[in-house]
Symmetry: C2
Subunit: 388 residues, 2 copies
Amino acid sequence: MKSVLICGCDGYIGWGLAMHLAKRGHRVAGFDNLHRRRNVNAVGSISAIPIPTMEERVEYFDGNIEYQMGDATDYEFLSGIVKDFKPDTIVQLAEQPSAPFSMKNQKQAFYTQQNNVLGSLNVLFAIKEFVPDCHLLKLGTMGEYGTPNITIAENPVELEYDGRKETIQFPKQPGSFYHASKVHDTTNILLANRIWGLSCTDVMQGVVYGTRTNEMTDDKLLTRFDFDESFGTAINRFVAQAVIDYPLTPYGKGGQTRGYLALIDSVQCLRLAVENPPKQGEYRVFNQLAKTYSVLELANLVQEVAYDCGITTRIDCIENPRIEKENHYYNVESQKLRNLGFKETRSIKDELHLMFADLSKCGDRIKAHRDVIEPSSFWNGKIHNIVN
Amino acid sequence: MKSVLICGCDGYIGWGLAMHLAKRGHRVAGFDNLHRRRNVNAVGSISAIPIPTMEERVEYFDGNIEYQMGDATDYEFLSGIVKDFKPDTIVQLAEQPSAPFSMKNQKQAFYTQQNNVLGSLNVLFAIKEFVPDCHLLKLGTMGEYGTPNITIAENPVELEYDGRKETIQFPKQPGSFYHASKVHDTTNILLANRIWGLSCTDVMQGVVYGTRTNEMTDDKLLTRFDFDESFGTAINRFVAQAVIDYPLTPYGKGGQTRGYLALIDSVQCLRLAVENPPKQGEYRVFNQLAKTYSVLELANLVQEVAYDCGITTRIDCIENPRIEKENHYYNVESQKLRNLGFKETRSIKDELHLMFADLSKCGDRIKAHRDVIEPSSFWNGKIHNIVN
């Protein structure tokens, strides 16, 4: 059993992971600056699923999770909790997770990189200073890679130039200042690994969807669910749209292909990484996803399951707020988590059925904020919007 | 003739460049937060060469340079000056430039990345918002590349994996949180180039040495000269050591090979980049150096020229505070600036003679701070020191 500190335990994944690890018998502490709640409110939205405060959550939960409010960019706070709790693993989820939010304007891009890069930098120093053998489980994103015209490797690759060879990390091409912040994190982590022998699992996670993990046995224990253009991701947004009879709105031609996995599988994978740490001084990358889909395939799947649930919905492709390829090669290696035992818990259709059941109770909350579902801010700087 | 805004005009290179561009007839404005002066004082040192205030400098100088005090991380200030001055070129030198300083502790690593990454991010937004056709001339460092086992290319290279090919930027492997901050800048710049069509010359500059440019016709116009373990770079530090009969102290075996160029050639190269901007929407890399030397070769050269100047000096290799290879392959492509007309102004020995002439007048100032020449902070976290 491990002592696990979760930075960002109030978020969509953080709360689910905290309960999952605690139920597995791990010793869990977490902190959060509650920025996700604040930022979602700032874009005029709320979580579709009502969520209690963190204090209420840890009280409702039948298990032990220590919680403190605090900010990873505050080194005094962070180093204090690391020093006291002495974690075996630190899970770094304390990041602003929205690409569209980071592309809204200078202020949000600045905030995103400040929060993410400096918070993660502090985590590196806290580990070096107080728990040098600690395993850093860092949440990156598949979006760090962009959409290269070659298979995205999970291990380092060989670059040949001018008759000589060098082994390099798979190249990154982030598509937003948010994605770039995660690339910066990776650059800093690799440095800490080289100079201090920091042990790290750098998780390149696909887009996560779903409303439930096994530990959410009571509605009060559900995690947040965002559907606005900034914090709502592709599948989640489509289901929210279907629930309120809003057309599903893929961006552009919908050919953008990405890796996806359900929330229950995200926490499964992160738990597998916690329980199977890297060797001391090892830096390893996990490409964490279940399957790849194009956005249009997802819209079609959601439409189909909506129909099974008695909802007839329309698909309206809209102007793509992002600057990205809508038709591209996409192939990803993702074997390492499977080697540790990762298996999809259920099919995407079964997951979508569960989501419709949960979200059908939240129609009023989604409807009241329907004006923030479609993009208002565009990658090229035009002021409308964006998503996922 | 160009309108050029120099961010960081009070620094070692910034002041020399401001005068050089102004004398060439360019319209020059600059700003600085004066952190270099503060940070050098903070490590217990001073500039070996006494320097006037920025206000006095622009007054003494026979030419027109507009100066304001201000900070690139302050977007209101930065966007104001960009909006008013409407530069054709922004030269981004407003960065904390010391690797050892960034490795001292959490506080300085945090400060370095905050200052450098967020300042440069603001520059990107100010260009996008107010001068979208502006050429960003960004000072990076050859240290972004580390010491790969292949030739460091100046153009993108081809990566073949799993039977397919992709063109990638030459991979980076920074060796300190300072170097990493420059890699982060490059990541952000490439994003701005892709999504906004930002035009950029990303200069990967070698280590700069020397005391003079042609415009420093009066001692009052000399630029700063640092010799402490944090802000003094290899050649400069060796000359300062020789001047006060302090042994030259290469780190480790001294086999570390890097690219170097004289200050007068650094401003020449940057001027060539200003006068020969990239195509609109182009991102280009210049590897900016004159020659490569190992640290031991440099110590030998300095010892030789010192002897010509009547100074007998000793070379004492000391424990390497850095974590770096001391024996490695090093080969760099650097043709693009030569194609624009770059030629070394004089030999390294002639440059060293000029340096001895200038610094021999500053022996007392160096002697008074001799205790900060050798490393006190180590890359592995031990608290002694470092340099270059």
